[in-house]
Every structure is written in C-alpha cells, then in structure tokens.
C-alpha cells in the first residue's frame, strides 16, 4: 500500500511560499536583534537576576529541546517498532526533530553571558557536569538523526536505516534523560533534586514532540492542499491521549512524593496553593490547558473526531508544556533556598522570600527566535528535500480500507433495500 505514497518536496511557488517565509524571516531578525541587544548591554536589560538566573529564554530553549526528542517518535515507531504505516512520515519526523533541537540550542547559546566563548564550551569539558554530557548528547543526536535521515533517503543505505533508527531512539532517550537531569541533579533546590525528573521529562517529550509534529503535518498539508486522512490523525490522537495521560501521571507522582516528605512541604504549598503566578500557571496552565482540556477534547465523543479539535488539542499541549517549563524552571528558582530548615531567615538579598522575576521583551524575542529558526529549517527542508509524503490518504495507509469501504457499501445497500 505504502508504495503508492511518494515522498516529495513542497511544490509551492511565489507569494504562497515566500509570504510565510518572509514572516518567519522577520521573526528571526527580531529575535537576533534581541539577542544582540542582550549581548551588547548585558543581562541587565532582562528580568533575570541573581535569584532567578534562568529566565524566559531557558523556558523556550528547554521546551524546544525536550520537544525535539519527542518529535522523533514517529520515526522511531516506524524503524524501531516496525509499524509500516509511519514509514512515509519518518524522514519528516527526523527533520522536525533536528529543527526543534537547533532552535532550542540557538536560544540557549545566545543567552549565555559570553556567547562568544562557544568554542571554549567545545574545547573545555568537565565530565562530571551533566551540562558537558548534554553538549555531547545534543551534538551526537544531531549527527545521528541526520545520518538516519540520509540512510532513509538514500536507496543504497536503506537496509541500514533500521539500525540507525534504533541508535537514534536510544540516543533520544539518553538526551532527554540528560535534559531532565539538569534539574534532577541539583541538590540545592526543593523543586529539583529528584530522580523522577529524568523519566518525567521523557514522557513530557513524547507529548510535546508529537503535538508539535502533528501541527507541522496538519500545517504543511493544509498549506499545500494535500490529502490528510483520518487514519494518521486518529493514531496521533490515540498517542497524544497516552502521552498526555502519562505526563499527568508523572506530575501527580512527583507532587505526591514531595507531599509525603515534610522537607518538601513548603515547596508543595508554594506551587499548589499560595505561589501566586506559579500556582496559577501550574493549575491553569500545566494542568488545565496542558492535561485536562486536551484529554477532554481528545476523549469526548462530540469532539474527538474533528481534525480542528485534534489540532487545537495539540496547541493546548504545547501551551501547557510552556507553562510546565515556566513553573519548573522559574518557579523552582523563585522559591527561596532552604538555608536553615525550620527557621525564619531574612537578608538584604531576598533570603527567605520568593524572588521576583518579570520577563523582558528581549527574552521573549530571543525565545521566539528558537521557534522561528525551527520553522525556517522545517520549511526549507520540506521545500528542498523529498521528505513530505504526497498524500496521507486513508486508502493508501489503511490496510483494511478496501474491505471497510466494501462493508460500508454493503450496509448502505442493505439499508436501501430494507
């Protein structure tokens, strides 16, 4: 069946292609302007400070990096788990994964205090640092998935694509373990210092990455007028239900474990009850928009079959994911360090009080740069490489399509005769 689906590049020309590209270019220019201004003036113009050192750029960057590994899901299901129907989507899945990773890394690097010292980060390694491991994990991931993409697209190398897919799958698990462990390994902070951060980030990545990939597919097919069948979309819907449910499960376990330990009670009270913006973002953003609303939409019989609703649920999952990153990264820093357990502390340096943080437009611009870079890579790759299936019609993908259609016709005939 899948032989009848050909991989193609976007055939768009003129304003229909260059118009959206120009908007992406504009966003990139604005983002680069923000990055330059931050680098030139210093972080003094940002909302970041010596209490909340990682701000909005890190929310965007970590989100994109986590989503990147999840966007490889579809390729992994095709190569590692042998599901043939996903095979036409595997190259695009790889492209989206690489694009999100490059976007996230760009934000991370441009936010450095000394981005000009990137070569230092490449030549000086402290192998005890999870950050240093991550540099290897990120670069290795890019090399592996680009090799994997080449093997899928080069006919002579296709026999090796399965092996490359397995390596890419294992590597992406390691990558997200590394990203989660950036927080899991921090012993100093009540919000972090938990082994569950690594597997929790892996499950988050499944949800964020698949939601992003689903939106890319829907967007590209809508843009080019290609046929997208329910066979693919409904399977994405099923996986999204599973991954969002898994994310909610890990979130519950994380908080339950903390609630059980008196030493973490203050942090839990802060995030669940009286943490102001962080409490609001947790309940309304991460839980409400990120878990409850998408699950309702994806399960409810009145909405679950609508493509628009599935696309909307994917957007909600991404928004909920951004809220989760904000709560984890910024909420985790804003909560005061526990210097003297059981004692009241005060100082002229915000000891014992919640640190303030207000995002600046420079940070938001830099964060959006990551999304813009990812979009640019996706669009240019789809334009120049044969990675987009020319159609994803049910009649080509569903092995039981003809049988189902025959049965439906038979039922209609019976109904008419009756």
């Amino acid at each position: 069946m899948s032989k009848r689906i050909n991989l193609d590049h976007l055939g768009l020309q003129g304003i229909s292609f260059y118009g959206p590209l120009a908007w992406i270019g504009l966003l990139i220019l604005v983002g680069l302007g923000c990055a330059y201004t931050m680098e030139h003036s210093g972080h003094v113009i940002t909302g970041m400070n010596n209490q909340v050192m990682w701000g909005t750029p890190h929310v965007f960057a970590v989100f994109l990096i986590v989503a990147a590994s999840g966007a490889l899901n579809v390729a992994s299901i095709s190569s590692v788990f042998g599901k043939q129907m996903y095979k036409p989507l595997a190259p695009l899945s790889t492209v989206v994964s690489a694009a999100l990773l490059v976007g996230g890394l760009a934000v991370l690097v441009l936010d450095l205090g000394r981005p000009d010292r990137l070569t230092v980060a490449m030549t000086h390694y402290n192998f005890k640092s999870i950050f240093a491991w991550n540099i290897y994990l990120y670069i290795g991931f890019l090399l592996i998935i680009l090799t994997y993409l080449w093997m899928m697209m080069e006919r002579r190398m296709q026999p090796h694509a399965h092996g490359a897919g397995i390596v890419a799958f294992l590597w992406r698990l390691a990558l997200t373990t590394g990203t989660g462990s950036i927080f899991g390994f921090v012993i100093a902070r009540q919000a972090y210092d938990a082994a569950i951060m690594a597997p929790m980030f892996i499950v988050f990545s499944f949800a964020y990455g698949l939601a992003a990939f689903n939106l890319v597919i829907m967007g590209l097919y809508n843009w080019t007028g290609r046929e997208l069948g329910s066979f693919v979309t409904y399977r994405f819907r099923s996986m999204l239900r599973l991954f969002v449910g898994g994310s909610a499960y890990f979130t519950v376990i994380y908080h339950l474990t903390n609630l059980y330990a008196p030493e973490h009670a203050a942090w839990e009270r802060f995030i669940l009850l009286d943490g102001g913006i962080y409490t609001a973002l947790f309940w309304l953003g991460q839980v409400g928009i990120g878990y409850v609303a998408p699950l309702l939409l994806l399960f409810h019989p009145g909405t679950r079959d609508s493509f628009s609703v599935i696309a909307g649920a994917s957007v909600l999952i991404l928004l909920g994911g951004m809220a989760q990153m904000y709560v984890t990264i910024i909420g985790g820093q804003a909560f005061p360090l526990l210097l003297f357990p059981g004692m009241e502390v005060s100082s002229g340096f915000a000891d014992g009080v919640v640190a303030s943080y207000v995002p600046s437009m420079w940070e938001v611009g830099l964060g959006l740069l990551g999304f813009a870079i990812a979009l640019l890579i996706i669009v240019l790759s789809a334009k120049t490489l044969r990675v987009v299936p020319d159609n994803l019609s049910n009649r080509f993908l569903d092995p039981d399509h003809d049988k189902t259609q025959a049965e439906l016709a038979e039922e209609r005939a019976l109904a008419q005769s009756a």
């Binding site: 003036s41 003094v44 970041m48 010596n50 450095l112 000394r114 640092s129 991550n134 100093a188 640190a355």
Partner: protein
C-alpha cells in the same frame, strides 16, 4: 581573650619568619628585610598549591551582631563589587551578605555572614560544563574567568546563593580580582591575600572594627588557632545534611 586570627606570635609564623630572616641576613645586606611576613601554612609564591593545607573559616555567631556589616563593606572595598549603576538591586553582585536567622518557636535569633562556603565537594564545580568553577588543592573554590561561558548553572546548583552573575560592563577593576560582564563570580577567600600570607579582608575588618567573630586558618594544621578552636567548641556547617563538607564552619547555633 582568644584572638581568632592567626597572629604573628604563632609558632609557625615565628619559625617561618626566623628562617626567612636567616636567609635574608646571610644573602642580603644586614638590616634590609626583603621577605614579607607570611601566615602559618602560607606557601611561597614559587611553591605549588597542595592539599597539605585546607583553608577554612570559623564564624562565631555569638560575636556577630545583627546590623553589623563591616565584613561586607571590607569585601566590597577589597574586590570592587558594589551597587552597579545600571543593575537592579536583585542583579547586583553579593559576594558576602549578612543573614538574620530566628527560631519561630523559641524566638532565639542570630546573625551571620554568608558567602561561598568553599565546599570540599562543591556542587558549582560539579555542574560547571567547562571546568571554570574549580576547587584549588588547598580548598579555595574559584571561578576561572577565562573559560566561564556565563551559563549560570553553578548559581542554580549552589545551595547558599553565594554566586553572582555580572549583568553589565564593569569598570575600575582590581588587578588581583578581575570581574567581567557575562561571567559568574563569588568570594575568593581573598586568595590573593592568602597566597601573600595575609588573612581575608572580611576577617581583618571583623577583628579590627567589629566583634572579632571570624577566624581564618589551616584546618589541616593541628597547631593552627582555627584547628585548636574547633577541637574545643561545637561547630556546624550550614545545610550539613547535603554532605558538602564546607570549609566555612559556624559556632553558636
């Protein structure tokens, strides 16, 4: 009263001085002293740093008054960090700060200076991707400004909020204490002074102008004043449960 600093009358200092004077007396014209006095355990500039020495601080909170910040002012003067012109208060550097602590059940309160605790197992050095954060063999935790990329992971990892990120261009730096926009900095335990045989500026100021609550010295040397003192009184480390074995010890709570 017990003086909490290593004083010139320490036996080690006398031995070292004696040796230096003997060398000077035989090699140089009599009456000219070319060798500066050095603290007990201080190395000669040509000698490598070794772990034979473990520099440490003992802070007696019973002598540390709330509201007194001579140690903070001395550190600012020594290293040149202050309220930067453009930075907000929460963005200003804070190498050392005074923290007031109160037990809400009993009302017992005390005050103490908080700075880099110079951990034996420093989380900042563990997480630093380039190795810019490092611990010298003698226990002093430092930042190599040449290879700090400004990622701030060390600040996230520090349990004591002892590190600062420089948010703007810096002018008028001290030659012995370089600072730079986009890099992280913290208490150096006045390594430039220690290497020259002197005590940190905060310790000196506390002894001269405040309650003499800070004692600096070599924790490895059983004859040092700090080693003797901590063998006689109860001491604790802040967040000792983290197992970081800091070089800064506290007494009084």
């Amino acid at each position: 009263m017990t003086r909490y600093n290593d004083r010139p009358d320490d036996p080690d200092r006398r031995r070292l001085l004696g040796g230096a004077l003997a060398v000077a007396a035989t090699a140089i014209a009599p009456g000219i002293l070319l060798v500066a006095p050095r603290a007990a355990g201080a190395r000669m500039p040509t000698e490598p740093v070794t772990d034979a020495v473990r520099w440490g601080l003992l802070i007696d909170t019973t002598k540390c008054e709330a509201g007194c910040d001579h140690c903070v002012a001395a550190c600012q003067t020594e290293h040149g960090w202050t309220d930067e012109p453009l930075s907000r208060p929460d963005q200003d550097a804070q190498w050392i700060r005074k923290v007031e602590v109160r037990d809400p059940r009993t009302g017992y309160a005390f005050s103490l200076p908080m700075m880099c605790q110079h951990c034996e197992y420093p989380p900042c050095a563990d997480v630093c991707p380039t190795g810019a954060s490092f611990k010298r063999a003698d226990g002093i935790v430092l930042v190599d400004k040449h290879i700090c990329i400004g990622c701030r992971y060390c600040m996230v990892a520090c349990p004591y909020k002892a590190r600062s990120f420089v948010h703007e261009d810096i002018e008028g730096q001290k030659a012995y204490s370089p600072r730079g926009k986009g890099t992280v900095e913290s208490c150096t335990l006045c390594v430039h002074r220690v290497d020259a045989g002197r005590v940190p500026a905060c310790v000196e100021a506390c002894a001269a102008r405040a309650g003499d609550a800070m004692l600096f010295g070599d924790l490895n040397d059983p004859e040092s004043a700090i080693a003797k003192r901590i063998s006689q009184i109860a001491t604790t480390r802040i967040r000792a449960d983290l197992g970081l074995h800091q070089g800064v010890l506290y007494h009084g709570f």
